[in-house]
Subunit: 340 residues, 2 copies
């Protein structure tokens, strides 16, 4: 039995997405032997649960944390001081205490990172977990990290990210000896900052990873690499620029298609192509990424994710809990500690 702890109150849609998401996971994903510890307002949870039929009550445990929640604007430091008793804190703590195998939350990212770090702890040689993303590319998927948890990064940190990204691509995507690139503003070795040059040298000396050198923003989606390593500032800017560009093109095409009778007919005939594209790039189908570098599994679901996205985040948590993910990350970091 895989036991998943869920912060039912996190995210923009809160209970509307989380409870529906559990039901959707149970009814759509073909995964057995999963139980859920739901943390949140018991009265509201019961009310929402009564609307759904797929979830077996025997697979659920409700932990009442009342209306104690960590808001989206709460600073990580405040969350660490006063977070005890909130749905997010208690859900993470249940994993820390071994009462669950993985936790999922759509709540405040900074608070989630900080609380996971304190309660669960990071693996040896890792100061702070990283936020990793899985992005569609022309040939498959790209793992990218960090996406916003670590804005200032030393070359040691970036080298750790490369190791961790390597483990994510291997474990989560099943890619053997993934190609790892370091994000820069040009591919020539002379380009970029001093920290990037140091990281380039460090990674060139790592035998356990397939480092192919510097990559550019255009390489995030073209499949040239399986793993893109960057600091949390650039990673966040890159990911959000991509989201914005997708929305821009979407809105352009939408208004174009509805501009005339013939184009509308044309759209009807090729809408399957757009559905396929939507399914591929839809954030929901990629929702749920582990905080990499923790001793146990904590999955971050996007703050704006709906029930479909939340269900996907649950499936990521289940898969990781059943894999050797944490050990893979630990093992991949061994080379680093030898080198240090």
């Amino acid at each position: 039995m895989t036991r998943i702890a869920l912060d039912a109150m996190g995210g923009d849609l809160s209970l509307l997405a989380t409870i529906h998401g559990i039901d959707y996971f149970v009814s759509t994903y073909n995964v057995s032997d999963v139980s859920f510890s739901i943390f949140g307002d018991a009265v509201e949870i019961e009310k929402r649960l009564s609307e759904f039929t797929a979830i077996k009550r025997s697979a659920i445990e409700i932990h009442d944390t009342g209306t104690n929640v960590i808001s989206g604007s709460e600073k990580p430091a405040t969350a660490m001081k006063h977070g005890s008793g909130t749905s997010m804190f208690e859900a993470i703590d249940s994993v820390a205490k071994g009462q669950a195998d993985a936790v999922v939350s759509s709540g405040n990212t900074g608070a989630y990172m900080a609380l996971s770090k304190i309660l669960i702890g990071t693996i040896e040689n890792i100061d702070r977990p990283a936020l990793v993303g899985v992005i569609p590319n022309t040939l498959g998927k790209t793992v990218m990290l960090d996406l916003g948890a670590n804005t200032d990064c030393s070359s040691i940190k970036l080298t750790q990210f490369a190791m961790m990204g390597n483990a994510v691509a291997t474990t989560l995507l099943g890619i053997k000896f993934p190609k790892v690139g370091l994000l820069n503003i040009g591919t020539e070795a002379s380009k970029g900052t001093k920290i990037l040059a140091e990281t380039y040298d460090a990674l060139s000396g790592c035998k356990s990873i397939n480092f192919i050198g510097f990559v550019e923003g255009t390489d995030v989606t073209n499949g040239v690499v399986d793993v893109i390593v960057t600091d949390g500032f650039s990673g966040n800017i890159s990911l959000k620029t991509m989201e914005g560009t997708i929305r821009y093109i979407n809105s352009f095409l939408k208004s174009g298609f509805s501009s005339g009778f013939v184009t509308r007919i044309g759209y009807m005939l090729c809408r399957k192509v757009f559905k396929d594209l939507k399914d591929t790039i839809d954030p929901s189908s990629h929702n749920g990424v582990p905080l990499v570098g923790l001793k146990k599994i904590a999955v971050k679901s996007h703050g704006s994710s709906d029930f479909v996205g939340f269900a996907n985040a649950i499936s990521v948590a289940v898969n990781l809990a059943r894999s050797s993910f944490v050990k893979s990350v630990e093992d991949s970091l061994c080379e680093l500690s030898y080198a240090a």
Copy 2:
């Protein structure tokens, strides 16, 4: 008469794009009273020129620099030491000496920046010019700077970028009192680095610009702001991620449309929408951006631009040469020097 100096040897396509580009500009853009000083290999230039008919020979002066060119991989420092006599150096120098009103090159960006700075010089209070881009957004166009010329930026530099971006949006796009945003990983004032917080404070106190606060990567293309200010590292990553995302979607749709008879018919019926999208986001139609902060006008054309793109870069140079662009940038920086 507006006199444009052209580096005929720069860019991936070199003479193939530049000479054809001049012809395309003359035959397609409805602009009179323009003359061209072409710098490069005179024999090759003559050969290419003989293939085109739109360019009047009386409007052309060829300056033979033989095969002396600055390669794409040349470091800026080397270009400054040994650049004299190359097509790029001499084209820039002709503007510096007042023999031309603006220069256009598709060559090595770093070398172009460095040579322009040395030969033409920067306006008061500006250490180094910035690379600015004009990007399509849902409501119109966004001016973004810096795009890669200045990787490490102090808050003073970022504040200067805001002033210069403001001048570009006003002069080049005709936007009155443009909305200016500072790129960050969240819109809350507490987000990001110390330098960004300092810049936020400085810009909040500037009366001459309409500063609306922090913006995110998603805001590059949604029209929330007219000007996006960022350091050259993040700006470059953002721009290239956008280019990559557009290519990704394009390739996805292309392969989807050709996957069956019905979708092919559908595509035929709505292909006008795709043509409109292509025209809007095509780098060629946005090619040519000024190096902002110089005492005279130097326009950078993309290294991979074709003749259509190069023609557009020429038109940007002509428009700027006929505008009060440099004075606008100087005036916009006045407030800064008073405040300093």
